[in-house]
């Protein structure tokens, strides 16, 4: 007689039957938490325009994600928080005074064109926030390079200014032509560049989330502690920028690291899982490439800042880097 199965309907699945409880939404939440210090500093320095830009970017990204999934007849994925993160990252990479309709357009581009067209999370070749920033920089060059001064409301007659990067770019030129007089450089430095202390805290013009090096470092340490990111990309990126500027001259190396998008780029943008290599070796190569391209653009390119373009170019090279840096199995010859 065959044994009869009574009420037994056990769940059948392939092993393992245990899980670490890691989840995509928790990872995204961790990155959002890590961005809170720099978000707060951005709002502190640039006021309500920063608040509005962040709110508009985040909400537009969520709505765009939901609409795209609906149009594609796929399950709604706003719960994984990746759209929230993309919106926040985009906002933090925009100048505070950007017209809000441009921020809306950028957010739609980030989610619809840079992410969902490729199939959504995990499929996009380029970092959506950076792709949108590049799109906006090319489309709206003026507003995208008009920077509010920190505490601009105190000096309403001269609320905008150039970033330190624009000043620093001239130093490369100055050094090449004026046989590098340290004295002359110092004079230039006194004119348009904030003190080291201001740079660390973020008291300088720039994108909402990129100015405060300390706040970004706190976020990066949190991500490392939570094991969301590994040290490879931030360290190789920042070290490359540092060493390059020591060799190439121009502005002091420390200044190159602390200004512009290097800190936020190295810790938050280049470490985006989907668009960066998966192996440790690959991450080192990737970080090096980002740092090198960033400095080449800063020294020779048409823009004062090259961080986002550097990361986007390395995004494109990511599959190649992955291919070169495949791990060798334990026991393989």
């Amino acid at each position: 007689m065959k044994p009869k199965d009574t009420s037994e309907h056990y769940i059948l699945s392939s092993s393992p039957h245990a899980h670490s409880n890691a989840s995509v939404s928790r990872i995204m939440l961790d990155v959002i938490i890590a961005l809170l210090p720099t978000t707060a500093m951005g709002i502190y320095f640039f006021g309500m325009p920063a608040v509005w830009t962040i709110a508009v970017c985040v909400s537009t990204c969520i709505v765009t994600e939901a609409l795209c999934r609906l149009a594609m007849k796929r399950e709604n994925t706003i719960g994984d928080l990746s759209a929230v993160l993309t919106g926040l990252l985009l906002a933090l990479n925009l100048p505070a005074g950007i017209p809000l309709w441009m921020a809306v357009l950028g957010s739609v581009f980030a989610i619809a064109i840079a992410k969902q067209v490729f199939g959504g999370l995990g499929m996009n070749p380029f970092n959506p926030a950076l792709a949108a920033r590049a799109f906006m920089l090319i489309s709206f060059t003026g507003p995208m390079t008009t920077w509010l001064k920190p505490f601009w409301w105190k000096t309403p007659e001269a609320a905008t200014t150039a970033t330190p990067l624009a000043v620093m770019k001239t130093w490369f030129v100055a050094e090449a032509t004026a046989s590098a007089s340290p004295h002359g450089l110092c004079n230039a430095a006194c004119k348009g560049v904030p003190s080291l202390c201001d740079m660390l805290v973020g008291n300088m013009p720039g994108c909402i989330g990129e100015v405060s090096a300390i706040a970004l470092a706190i976020g990066a340490v949190y991500l490392l502690w939570r094991k969301v990111i590994t040290w490879h990309i931030p360290v190789s990126f920042i070290a490359t920028v540092f060493v390059y500027s020591l060799i190439a001259g121009g502005a002091p190396a420390m200044m190159q690291v602390l200004t512009g998008g290097v800190m936020i780029g190295a810790c938050f943008m280049a470490t985006d899982y989907v668009t960066s290599p998966i192996t440790a070796k690959g991450k080192l190569v990737f970080g090096f490439g980002c740092g090198l391209l960033c400095m080449l653009i800063r020294q020779f390119g048409a823009y004062p800042e090259g961080c986002s373009f550097a990361i986007l170019i390395m995004n494109a090279l990511c599959p190649l880097v992955n291919r070169w840096t495949q791990p060798r199995p334990f026991g393989a010859k």
Binding site: D5, Y10, V24, I278, P327, G331
Partner: protein, 470 residues
């Protein structure tokens, strides 16, 4: 004899919740003989044994009912006196069906065909089935033959025939005998209890194995979370001669993997398949198997029963049970006081590598180290999402593979790409899926790829053979 910390650390590994406290302090209990046993002919790695009995036959405890069938195979002996009710295909823990002998242990010996035979020994008497051997005077060949006759296979999981392992091919010498007492699978405490309660048997088994293998050095590998087992082994082996070390392994899954244990204890790396541990001079045996060898030689007792941990939050009282092979899971659960609540998942083995089963009407085998009944709360069930390339699986993989790449290749049905990514090296430990934030069934994809590659190779071989014959 000395105790050392593991000098080598392999890359990767994960830390699942061990949940061993449920059963670790429960001494081994002997199960009263169940009324019915389901004795599978496929209890080990390799070809199933050939069934020698037919319905209606009366069999004696220890009688060979399944004949060794090929080189990688072991015999199956009747775990108890009884009448063969049926010989039929039965579901095994891994899902496949194999011939099984259904034994009615309540049948009276009068039903034996030979009623005139001298008074049979009482049912399930402790009288030895094979003549006891003095291992000191017995030859190596005699001892090897005994291990084979006793139907011993690896009791850790895979069930590799032990006599094959103990008889290295010509030209290969065993330099290290590694005793696997890691028991890194969550919930399981059977090996732990055996080390505590049967330390003397393990010691004797080691001495017998040393003789068979030509006096190799011995490494006893135990995870650091089992200090009582380490102490028990230290006591049992205190006065042993020769190169014997207890190696304390860091608590990390999968320390019990053969390749990783060899690396952790002696620092040697087993090359890619088809290489075996013996290719780097090592033989790894589970502690339970070693105790079984001692019983087979000294007492003439074949491998007819084993310790199985029955645990999980849906069982009334978790226990470590000494039960005859073929005991139905339902009998084990009943011995533990039954179900506390209806289990959502029943696992034969541990949570990392065990098999989810559909019914409790499956018989245990020589490799059944655990039976877990998990409630809905302990069972995770999520839809798997897209890979976000986070790299957790790469960092977790003890074989240093790229599981993300393999699982994406399998999703795209590109088995060739999976093969190029060395999927055949995968040991299916489950560390990749365990940590995947997108709940991807990576291990399952690896298994799928391995199975298709194996099927393809077999088909190619068959085709080549056919071409040769025509």
């Amino acid at each position: 004899m000395k105790t050392v910390k593991s000098p080598f650390h392999f890359k990767g590994g994960v830390h699942p919740d061990y949940n061993k406290e449920l059963a670790r302090d429960k001494p081994i209990e002997k199960l009263p003989l169940p009324a019915e046993l389901v004795v599978s002919m496929s209890q080990h790695l390799g070809a199933p044994a050939k069934c020698l009995v037919k319905p209606g036959d009366f069999v004696r405890r220890g009688q060979v009912i399944g004949e060794k069938n090929g080189f990688i195979s072991v015999c199956v002996r009747a775990p108890a006196d009884g009448k063969v009710k049926a010989v039929e295909k039965r579901l095994g823990p891994a899902g496949g069906k194999a011939d099984a002998v259904i034994l009615d242990t309540t049948a009276k010996p009068e039903s034996a065909p030979d009623a005139n035979s001298p008074t049979p020994p009482p049912v399930n008497s402790p009288a030895s089935i094979l003549p006891p051997l003095d291992w000191k005077t017995a030859s190596r060949e005699e001892l090897l033959k005994r291990v084979e006759e006793a139907g011993i296979c690896g009791m850790g999981g895979a069930g590799f025939p032990t006599s094959v392992k103990l008889n290295p091919p010509p030209g290969k010498r065993c330099e290290y005998l590694v005793l696997n007492g890691a028991e890194c699978e969550p919930y399981l405490t059977a090996d732990f209890r055996v080390m505590l309660e049967r330390a003397g048997r393990i010691r004797l088994g080691v001495e017998i194995m040393r003789k068979i293998l030509g006096q190799p050095a011995v490494r006893i590998a135990i995870e650091a979370n089992k200090p009582e087992a380490i102490a028990a082994m230290e006591k049992a082996f205190a006065d042993i001669e020769g190169n014997v070390e207890i190696v304390v392994l860091p608590v990390l899954y999968p320390q019990g993997s053969e390749k990783h244990q060899i690396y952790a204890t002696v620092g040697r790396v087993v090359p890619e398949p088809p290489a075996l541990p013996i290719d780097v001079g090592c033989v790894v045996e589970n502690v339970g198997t070693v105790a079984a060898i001692a019983d087979a030689v000294e007492k003439g007792e074949p491998l007819l029963e084993r310790v199985t941990t029955v645990s999980g939050d849906a069982v009334v009282e978790p226990k470590n049970i000494l039960a005859p092979s073929g005991t139905k899971y339902s009998d084990l659960v009943a011995f533990c006081g039954g179900e506390k609540e209806p289990p959502a998942k029943v696992i034969s083995g541990g949570t990392m590598m065990g098999f989810a089963v559909s019914t409790l009407e499956i018989g245990t085998t020589k490799t059944t180290s655990g039976l877990l009944l998990l409630s809905r709360r302990k069972v995770f069930q999520y839809a798997s999402g897209a890979c976000i390339n986070c790299g957790r699986c790469l960092r977790a993989c003890p074989m240093n593979l790229n599981p993300a790449l393999i699982s994406k290749a399998v999703d795209a049905n590109d088995i060739k790409a999976a093969e190029d990514a060395s999927v055949m090296d995968c040991i299916e430990c489950g560390a990749c899926s365990f940590g995947c934030p997108a709940y991807r069934t990576i291990t399952q994809s690896c298994r799928r790829a391995k199975n298709s590659i194996r099927a393809r190779i077999a088909a190619e071989k068959a085709k080549a053979a056919a071409a040769k014959n025509s």
